[in-house]
């Protein structure tokens, strides 16, 4: 069995940030990423990010990925690509699947930063070709350069739905409408305004009832919802489109943690099943830490800060004290407070409270 000091699972903003800080503290880090490249969600984000300078605000997501990847390279982190971690067992042992082979790795500490997966929506014919998740559309368009269709309807007005709609327009696709079940837009209004002035109809209190098409999507039928989210009879409308993009939220990729028997809790505000953790980001399994979207759906800005804290703490508990430990710890916690302070942070604050973190 291979032995490593610190194993990081997931090479998104959280995992990369953890790798940097833990290496700075003197640990030998091995990072496992199931995809063919590092960066996680960031490599699909062509828009400028929010936040403040310390989280690379106004830099495009894909460029933030480059910055983080270069920093990791500087630190001599051992990187395994196309390497999916498929098991987490007792005594901090993981199984990795790479090149059609399985191998086991034993680690002194493990940081889980596996991110999230997309939720889907139940409606009639939701398996017709032409119906995609927003993540799949981004992968097709921004990584492989393939358009999902000519005329798209987006479902869901959270930031992801709004941003992917904008990217579709940039790619030359017509976004015919954006439908939202709630009574108001979920994401940042600045993103919504950007779409609206380009002529995208934003329709609230509405959902998709059924998809129609012969072998592929040709149109959808929408229906209005009342305040209790019940369908209003007779309010059906038809929208012609050859692609439908579903963006109704993400849920944490908790499987490894569940498999390792970590204490978990279902927290709606955080997107699903999340690990209970200490303020050092340690789960109920000793020396197994978790950070980023896998501990609650949030933003890359907070995922980076959480990753740094997890790296700092995983190292500290094994006796590797970062040269700037004290100032870093205080500064990182302060950054999280600021990011989560406003009305947009209310949901996450409320969710984190349920797993024992207080931001008041």
């Amino acid at each position: 069995m291979i032995e490593k000091e610190l194993v990081i699972i997931g090479g998104g903003p959280a995992g990369l940030s953890a790798a940097k800080v833990a290496s700075e503290a003197g640990m030998k880090v091995a990072l496992f990423e199931r995809s063919f490249s590092l960066g996680g969600q960031l490599i699909k984000q062509t828009h400028k990010f929010f936040g403040s300078e310390s989280q690379y605000a106004r830099v495009r997501g894909i460029e933030i990925a480059d910055i983080l990847i270069n920093e990791t390279r500087k630190h001599d982190v051992e990187i395994f690509l196309n390497a999916t971690v498929v098991g987490l067992y007792k005594d901090n042992i993981i199984t990795v699947y790479q090149d059609e082979k399985y191998f086991k790795v034993k680690a002194k500490a493990i940081i889980i930063a596996t991110g999230a997966s997309e939720k889907f929506l139940a409606f009639e014919n939701n398996d017709l070709p032409g119906i995609y998740g927003a993540g799949a559309v981004q992968t097709l368009m921004n990584i492989h350069g393939v358009l999902p269709g000519k005329e798209v309807v987006m479902v869901g007005s959270g930031n992801i739905g709004l941003i992917v709609s904008y990217q579709l327009i940039q790619a030359g696709v017509k976004v015919k409408a954006l439908v939202e079940a709630a009574g108001h837009i979920g994401g940042y209004l600045v993103h919504a305004s950007k779409l609206r002035r380009l002529g995208v109809d934003i329709i609230t209190n509405t959902t998709v009832k059924r998809a129609v098409g012969n072998g592929k999507l040709e149109r959808i039928v929408t229906v209005k919802l009342d305040d209790k989210w019940q369908e209003i009879e007779g309010s059906e409308e038809v929208i012609e489109c050859d692609a439908l993009c579903i963006s109704v939220g993400l849920s944490p990729l908790h499987q490894l943690l569940s498999m390792g028997n970590a204490n978990m809790l279902y927290v709606n505000e955080l997107g699903g099943l999340v690990p209970i953790k200490t303020c050092d980001y340690e789960t109920s399994i000793p020396h197994v830490y978790a950070c980023g979207d896998v501990t609650g759906i949030e933003e890359a800005s907070s995922a980076m800060v959480e990753g740094k804290i997890a790296g700092l703490m995983a190292a500290k508990h094994l006796g590797f004290i970062h040269p700037n430990y004290d100032s870093l710890e205080a500064e990182l916690n302060q950054q999280l407070c600021v990011l989560r302070q406003g009305p947009c942070g209310e949901k996450i604050r409320c969710g984190l409270k349920k797993v024992g973190e207080i931001y008041d």
């Binding site: 609206r196 947009c344 942070g345």
Partner: protein, 158 residues
């Protein structure tokens, strides 16, 4: 309403404009109506004209006395929520951030759209196109002054 439609009402828009006589010089119009954790507008302004403060969730406030209309914030804002407006010789001039292709060319006439995406009755004239390293192009356009509070972006080439 903006929470439902994504479009600011005329009253809301006007609340972000200075008095017309101030617009003889170019000024930044910051249409950021909701508290979000974001502050590049403040940190990018070389003249300290925008204030958010240490709680980056606060809504940006502008000091029109300090604003020179340089447009740096309009290029920095990740929400594309800032434009620069000016009135000159009966025309309204705007510098807007633009991230679509094809880019307009100076001298072309383009349709203009309001905040709902409706095409305005009058077209606008492309006055300047400034490509930038970060790939948000700043386009300067002019349109008749009555459209001052309505103009939001350019549509397509006429």
């Amino acid at each position: 309403m903006i929470e439902k439609t994504g479009a600011a009402t005329i009253e809301l828009v006007k609340s972000k404009f200075p008095d017309k006589h101030v617009l003889v010089r170019p000024k930044a119009i910051i249409e950021c109506y909701k508290e979000i954790p974001c502050n590049p507008c403040e940190t990018s302004c070389p003249f300290d004209a925008i204030y958010i403060g240490s709680d980056i969730n606060q809504i940006p406030r502008i000091d029109f006395n300090k604003c020179t209309g340089c447009g740096i914030c309009a290029q920095a804002c990740p929400g594309l929520a800032i434009m620069v407006a000016m009135i000159k010789d009966g025309k309204a001039y705007f510098k807007i951030p633009y991230e679509l292709l094809p880019l307009p060319i100076v001298g072309e006439r383009w349709s203009a759209a309001n905040r709902y995406g409706d095409v305005l009755d009058k077209p606008c004239l492309i006055e300047n196109v400034k490509k930038t390293k970060d790939r948000t192009t700043i386009v300067t356009v002019s349109i008749e002054q009555p459209y001052l509070y309505e103009f939001a972006t350019i549509g397509s080439k006429l």
